[in-house]
Assembly symmetry: C2
Homo-oligomer: 539 residues x 2
């Protein structure tokens, strides 16, 4: 490879807003002009990714094609005369139904090479992921052609995202035979724990004598967060260039790079903040509201909210009931002071009593009632103050259905829904240790978790301790483990069966849950599709 210089145009597109997305790419082009030979975007940077079934709409695809044409025209500006563009976009396929299995797909997931006012060629993604949150095989028509082109004397080719995860592929050898020196790979690769390590392993397994420029998107889109971190690995497998988490144009070569490590809390924190921040930004919402119970889940959610939209845009609401402890209020006050957010206090007992006069509630119904009164008040503030309500549940309680429907489950976004309770504790402690001052009140971290819906209630009345619960849940959910496998991992059979039963019985609750940021390999959301109606028996 000659000394080709790569710039990563790591943009944060909004699905459907092609004008904005194109503008972001052009800003990267201005930064890259004179600094790099080729500017590489992430996957579908013009249309946004994932498009879901919007990919079936001809107008959506046409707009992506029109924007590409505008980019071709813009590239004729003399200031870009030495810059090649490799840009991701959707293209109408020649045939609607090359594969019957996904008969509605009309478009390719493509990347085009543009230079000096000309479209050099277009590559179509060949390997279409159809697992976890991905529906590419549903939504796109696969390609089957290489695109080989020359940039300043370097022979280049293109692959898109999943293309390079196919470890049985014969493409690496044929790319090498074709003389390819640099494989350019636009990606839409969402964050999950330790994903940065996995990406490098995949690249090194795929590369066969050629360098690889791995360009990712940045930012949040519904439940997923693209964590940027584009990188260039040379022919010898050495990483020589690396972009930040954030959006921007990155072209600096690094003389020496620290090896990528297992995930630290700081990346996870950025992901949680970005997921919420971009959901607000891209749906034009500036204010957030959430209930503050004095517990750790709402405290951590509030901290994320403050970093996402600013303290002046976060409304905390304490909603004490007849069963609330004193510390539920004092801890909420401490938190609001730590975060400099507004705290409103609305005791729910008058409304609670009015409901009890209207209807006779059973014990369980009476517990749920309190959570639902709080949701009605919070949604009242949400509607009146035009503030998005956050649901503050964690993955452990959502997994076992330890939530009240239309109560604490209510909200437009659930920032910590993919954090197990043990991770909530971990990142809260990390957050406090990060700066000079406390963020999450220490008492919220150390006190016994409780829903406070009846006198002296604690979570372990109904649930195993969270250390145990989270281990069992990780096995069941992330590894599709059987009961036998959970037992083989050292847990009592009775416990494993109880937890599995709770997970199964609460599918209907999760099917109505708010979206929230994915951080694990299997999050509750579009990446996990399980029937609600099931009945398991042994045979």
């Amino acid at each position: 490879m000659t000394s080709i210089k790569v710039a990563f145009g790591q943009t944060n597109p909004v699905v459907g807003d092609v004008a904005y997305n194109l503008d972001q790419l052009m800003k990267c082009a201005e930064a890259a002009a004179g600094e790099a030979d080729v500017l590489v975007s992430g996957e579908l940077a013009i249309s946004g990714y994932p498009l879901g079934d919007l990919s079936y709409r001809e107008d959506v695809i046409h707009r992506s094609e029109t924007a590409l044409q505008k980019l071709v025209e813009a590239s004729s500006d003399p200031k870009y005369s030495s810059l090649y563009f490799v840009v991701g976009h959707a293209t109408l396929a020649a045939s609607k139904s090359t594969h019957i299995q996904s008969s509605k797909a009309i478009a390719h997931n493509s990347a085009s090479v543009i230079h000096d006012g000309k479209l050099i060629g277009t590559y179509h993604k060949q390997v279409l992921p159809n697992y976890d949150v991905f529906d590419d095989w549903r939504n796109f028509v696969p390609g089957n052609q290489e695109l080989i082109f020359d940039v300043s004397g370097t022979t280049c080719a293109i692959a898109i995202c999943e293309d390079i995860w196919d470890h049985n592929s014969t493409r690496p050898a044929s790319l090498r035979k074709a003389g390819v020196e640099l494989l350019i790979v636009p990606n839409g690769s969402p964050y999950t724990r330790n994903k940065a390590l996995e990406r490098r392993a995949a690249v090194r397994q795929f590369q066969d004598g050629f360098a690889v420029a791995y360009a990712n998107l940045s930012g949040g889109q519904d439940e997923i967060v693209f964590d940027g971190g584009s990188f260039l690995i040379n022919q010898s497998g050495v990483e020589i260039q690396r972009a930040d988490f954030e959006e921007g144009c990155f072209y600096d070569l690094a003389p020496e790079l620290e090896p990528v490590k297992s995930d630290d809390m700081s990346t996870l924190w950025k992901v949680l903040v970005t997921g919420l921040r971009d959901y607000c930004r891209k749906t034009n919402q500036t204010k957030l509201v959430l209930g503050l119970s004095g517990g750790i889940d709402s405290a951590l959610s509030a901290a994320i909210a403050v970093e996402a939209v600013g303290a002046q845009n976060v409304i905390g609401v304490a909603l004490p009931s007849r069963f609330s402890s004193n510390h539920s209020i004092t801890d909420a006050e401490k938190l609001a002071a730590n975060l400099s957010i507004e705290l409103r206090k609305i005791p729910i007992d008058p409304v609670h009593k009015a409901f009890e006069s209207a209807l006779q509630f059973s014990d369980l119904a009476g517990e749920n009632l309190q959570a639902r009164i709080r949701a009605v008040l919070l949604m009242g503030i949400s509607n009146t103050d035009n503030a998005l309500l956050l649901s503050t549940g964690n993955k452990s309680e959502i997994a076992v259905g330890y939530t009240t429907m239309y109560g604490d489950s209510a909200g437009g976004f659930a920032p910590i829904k993919d954090l197990f309770k043990t991770d909530v504790w971990k990142i809260s402690s990390w957050l406090n240790a990060r700066g000079d001052t406390e963020v999450i009140p220490e008492n919220s971290i150390t006190k016994e978790p409780s829903a406070e819906l009846r006198p002296d209630q604690i979570d372990t009345d109904s649930l195993p301790d969270y250390q145990t619960l989270d281990q069992v849940l990780a096995l069941l959910i992330e590894h599709s483990a059987t009961i036998d496998e959970v037992v083989a991992n050292g847990h009592p059979r009775q416990l494993a069966e109880k937890v599995e039963g709770m997970v199964r019985a609460s599918e209907w609750k999760r099917s109505q849950g708010a979206i929230g940021t994915k951080t694990t390999s299997i999050a509750f959301g579009s990446g996990r599709r399980v029937p609600i109606t099931t009945r398991f028996t042994q045979l």
Copy 2:
């Protein structure tokens, strides 16, 4: 073809309950013994269909395999000595990752031929649908082998469901060349309007000199309803055998059959009742509760509920507010009398006032408040009386977001969510005309639709008239139409843009919606996957 006699073992399986599912098949076998040469089940009749990501669980697949083995043993009973079984089940695939695009799939979607205590062979589905509600390509490993076998001198082969919808397939010709006289096709084919006609067209297009036995499942599974109606078409394309909508064993040849017609209301009615009935039955719920506003949506939902679980198991609740009309109560009373269901009355004003003392609500928030108070009371009854709450919204209002989150959208099942308002009127009138007595109060059908959340409010204050709205929505949702296409169909551009904008802005509401019975080609639910975060601009 010799005179082979086919019995359709049209069962109604429960996902995961292989013991129950096997039992249902054995009942069909007893009925078929001595009456037929071959008993054909629907797709995945042993494990249930669709399995979703449960197909990734080895224990789920193993149970299906164990049940198959039991069936093989049972078939050795002399009373079955002349009966062949063709039964759908899941099988562990030899390799986990024959296709990288769906790298988690471990199982085949299979059908086995069993006779006289022996497993003759197993066929694996080759064409895996991955559109609408189907995730077969995500969840299964495709097969690539024919299974040709002899039943009483007739040469038979197997295809499974989507296999026969591939009109470019070369299989028909090669099956004919192989001497196949009867193609046996287990299906998991959900009802949509006029689907019965489409199935026959697909069969006739696929058949090439051989007869086709098309066996469907029966009954509801989450949002879909299998509408049975298995049929046999002879080599000449003439339909000579047809099963009912309901589950059972069907082997009677018909001397002459009426041609299948376009859908009538009676099939749609059966579908709506079956969807709710089986959701209750399969999730062990016997009682239903719903709010009765005096309007047509709740009236129709109540009528469906009564037919699904019986009048004695349906609780109607009138929840009048300060804005409720007199007819809202009198029409609800009329309905309850017509249906012989319990009617409870809970005026919401005392609770309403208590909320207003607790918080200042904006006008819109105040409207939503009333719907949310009703939901809290209904969920209180749901929890206390152990009755499933029905959400009674129709497709038109759900499409444009004319619903209150955690208010009228609350519920575990939404029986009419896939009926446009105009269809709600149509089927309500049909229901009244069906018998001698009125079911839906005439005034509920004829009066102006209103949410009654402020004085003199009617739906058309905020929405186009429903005839127009439903036409535009059908184009946008079922045909992925562009604005230009809606205009080309005779609608004003401004109206088209307004409706499209309302649909887009309410994606987040639908993402938290209750499941409900699919009746159209694109229902809100797992068959329509659209990002929540979008921003559309022209370019």
